[in-house]
């Protein structure tokens, strides 16, 4: 399956973000992108895992094609979510884009050690934030061959 050949269905994106403004900016920037996508927004790490496990209100959740993951999250941190995803046989191939305000070396190293697919630092300014999201869309949704399950 490729971003270029999914064709008939939208690309399913799981957005894990506890800051409402940033989630809304992300959704808006992705909505304006060239590739049809559907964003599923959850606000903490536990809910991200519930979405992947199709638990509770996420019983009909699709398998995401791409995960945008904040690191500093309530209940279960982004690093813990990342570790769960990359150790799970059915989820480990799903590309995980870390989107965080942290440029702390320890966070970056830990994310790569846990096989984050990439690490994007969120700009504070809204225009630059949306430019960063569009760069993710322009790369991950238009040219990357997203792995099939």
């Amino acid at each position: 399956m490729s971003a270029m050949t999914i064709g008939a269905r939208p690309i399913e994106i799981l957005l894990v973000e506890d800051t409402t403004d940033e989630a809304e900016w992300t959704i808006e920037a992705l909505r304006d992108g060239r590739v049809r996508n559907r964003v599923h927004w959850v606000e903490d790490g536990e809910e991200a895992l519930a979405f992947l496990r199709r638990q509770g209100r996420h019983a009909a959740a699709p398998r995401p094609d791409l995960i945008l993951l904040d690191l500093h999250l309530p209940r279960l941190s982004g690093q813990e979510v990342l570790a769960e995803i990359k150790e799970h046989p059915q989820w480990k191939r799903i590309p995980v884009v870390i989107m965080t305000s942290s440029s702390d070396e320890k966070d970056i190293l830990m994310a790569y050690d846990r096989h984050a697919n990439c690490y994007v630092t969120k700009p504070i300014n809204m225009d630059k934030f949306m430019e960063a999201v569009r760069s993710i869309e322009d790369f991950w949704l238009t040219i990357v061959h997203l792995p099939a399950a």
Partner: protein
């Protein structure tokens, strides 16, 4: 826009097809960052370069590796496995750039922790554009490992 913490780094191209290699080097040279790129022609050379062996004793650690899959001597999957086994190399982002339409080969690359897989377009202009998009995302927006 955030800049990579460690400043611009070199791109290592691992590509045995001279036409593809020329096109990629040209596209990277014309890209917004015009970063230095180094070409090696098979998997064994790639590993020697990364480990600074033989003629590569003074090689810098690349900030990004663009890796073909089908190559002589050591193929792209073997290079990925070798990089993963090596603690000094395993964090370097690897973008697999391949002409293959074999889904299993791409899934195997993801299982070996390629950061992503990109198919080479047959059209040369499209191919150059794809290379520039790779450069733009990985070297301008992505925060590489320090």
């Amino acid at each position: 826009m955030p800049q990579p913490a460690t400043g611009p780094r070199q791109v290592l191209l691992v590509e045995d097809d001279p036409d593809d290699a020329d096109l990629m080097l040209e596209a990277l040279g014309e890209g917004a960052l015009a970063l230095p790129a180094v070409l090696v022609k098979d998997g064994e050379q790639a590993i020697a370069y990364l480990r600074r062996q033989g003629p590569y004793a003074a090689a810098p650690r690349p900030g990004l590796i663009l890796l073909d899959l089908h190559m002589p001597r050591m193929n792209g999957h073997e290079v990925l496995a070798e990089i993963n086994r090596d603690e000094a190399l395993r964090r370097i982002p690897v973008v697999v750039l391949t002409a293959t339409d074999n889904e299993k080969a791409l899934l195997d690359a993801y299982d070996l922790h390629a950061n992503c897989c990109v198919r080479k377009p047959a059209d040369q202009e499209q191919f150059a554009l794809v290379v520039q998009k790779i450069e733009r995302f990985w070297l301008r927006f992505n925060q590489g490992p320090p």
